[in-house]
Symmetry: C3
Subunit: 213 residues, 3 copies
């Protein structure tokens, strides 16, 4: 019953997750560039780089031609996210640290974790490959955007960012292995990633450094 509703809503879970992730991450990447006072061109490039870097890396790892090169729909979704960030940047002063941006980032993280887990499962990878590809799909874009902005990638400082992707992709594998439909696995994965990420931000979860030991 729940399965039927979800399957109706998410006819193609990959397409749904990929669409959400592209818009969300283009929005977040552009917000980072706005904070660095880039012009419209630089904002667009960083937004598209954040939206596409994770998925292109995923496609290279499963040795297929990147989706983003085969369809103009993907870049249109990316440009939509860029446009939203510019609109928000005109209205607010600090788009990168605005709660909307933090929530969009968590949603993008969860969507791309799910998209990566679906692709890896379809390509026949074992559990470790599913988790690795889901995580790379989710964190690759943000890491690449930070490298372009000449920062050390924030995923190295945020203990519960890549960790949330690992949890989500593990949940995807676990639920799928127990015979649930792909749409149920996709919803479980997304929920696990987004809930742990927002909880980590809200409660400021951290892990110790070696000097604490």
């Amino acid at each position: 019953m729940v399965e039927n509703v979800l399957t109706a809503l998410f006819g193609d879970p990959f397409a749904v997750m990929n669409t959400i992730g592209l818009v969300a991450f283009a929005f977040v990447g552009s917000s980072k560039a706005i904070r660095e006072e880039f012009d419209v061109f630089g904002i667009t490039i960083v937004g598209l780089a954040m939206a596409f870097a994770g998925g292109v890396t995923r496609d290279l790892l499963v040795t297929r031609v990147p989706l983003a090169l085969q369809s103009p729909i993907e870049i249109i979704l990316g440009l939509l996210g860029v446009g939203l960030a510019i609109a928000l940047g005109v209205v607010f002063n600090a788009p990168e640290t605005h709660p909307i941006t933090i929530v969009a980032d968590a949603i993008g993280l969860a969507s791309f974790t799910t998209a990566g887990a679906i692709v890896a499962t379809t390509a026949g990878f074992p559990v470790f490959g599913i988790v690795a590809i889901g995580t790379i799909n989710a964190v690759g874009g943000g890491a690449f955007a930070d490298i372009l902005l000449d920062r050390s990638p924030f995923i190295l400082f945020e203990d519960f960012y890549a960790t949330c992707a690992v949890l989500g992709a593990s949940a995807y594998w676990f639920v799928g292995t127990f015979g649930a439909a792909g749409s149920v696995a996709a919803v479980t994965c997304s929920a696990a990633a987004v809930v742990t990420r927002l909880a980590a931000v809200s409660y400021d979860w951290t892990l110790p450094t070696v000097n604490d030991m």
Copy 2:
């Protein structure tokens, strides 16, 4: 008639464009490293990285083994560009900002845009894929060299750099679609990219930032 002359001159447009691009970008990459006061080894590595990063990325995106790994001719062309940059660096103080370097960079940009557009067309990509692969081939090397030098890639600040590659690759597709020979499309693409790039440098074209709005 024009077609016949161009075809005679450019028997294999890809080989011509790839050769010019490798020498030009190795020269520019090495000039960047000279400005940062690297030694001969570092200059060579940055020069080769700038010459090869775009083309290797292009080959990975169309899922074929990179050309640069299959033929020693490619690295010899790269080393020629490195040698020219060292010679210029000994003669002049600031090779990175010398007009020769700026022109070489525009020529490399145009050549690699064309080389990428040819590979993508041959591989059967739609127009969006041709433009994306031409642009990545053209700007990938410079962006990677800047990341190695721990700078934010200058393509993010130069509005009319990646844009020139987009224009050139679009022209390649447009001319080719209307039935012109590959050599005519290649010349059109190169001319569009190099002319817009040199005009942008000469007249200091820029786009607005969000704060201007």
Copy 3:
């Protein structure tokens, strides 16, 4: 006779070299992150990034699915290196510059040069491809770790780092071409790389800069 002993010890030279390289480079990458005062999570990510980046790049260049995504053994070896670095970091103050780390780095360099040369030879590349892939396998991890830590990759400043990999991979091709068993070629390659690297560190070998000329 020597060949028989080596083949017995190194039944599968690739597996031996890959195992040593993964532990050594995870150890070195984690030591870099400890010096930058990252927490346990960041230390783990940088260690795994250094261990896997070279081999994944190698696998992409020969267009096969990365090994690291197909087997959990690889990540377990990486985590072992991370654990050793944390243990050493608790005991000593400066794990990155400790002699143990410098020796581990030279061993990782030699092991991954050999692993890359074996893969390229098996995939049928000519001598130039063997040297390029061996070198990229060896230096890719360290360069990527430095980029993550927002440093300019140290391979650009160390004249005898990538050079040692080039020497080792050339030796692999030379010995293999003269009909020696793979295990003999592997030992020759590793020895050439590790000896030249440790000699370069001990005697502080450098090359001139353009300003010296």
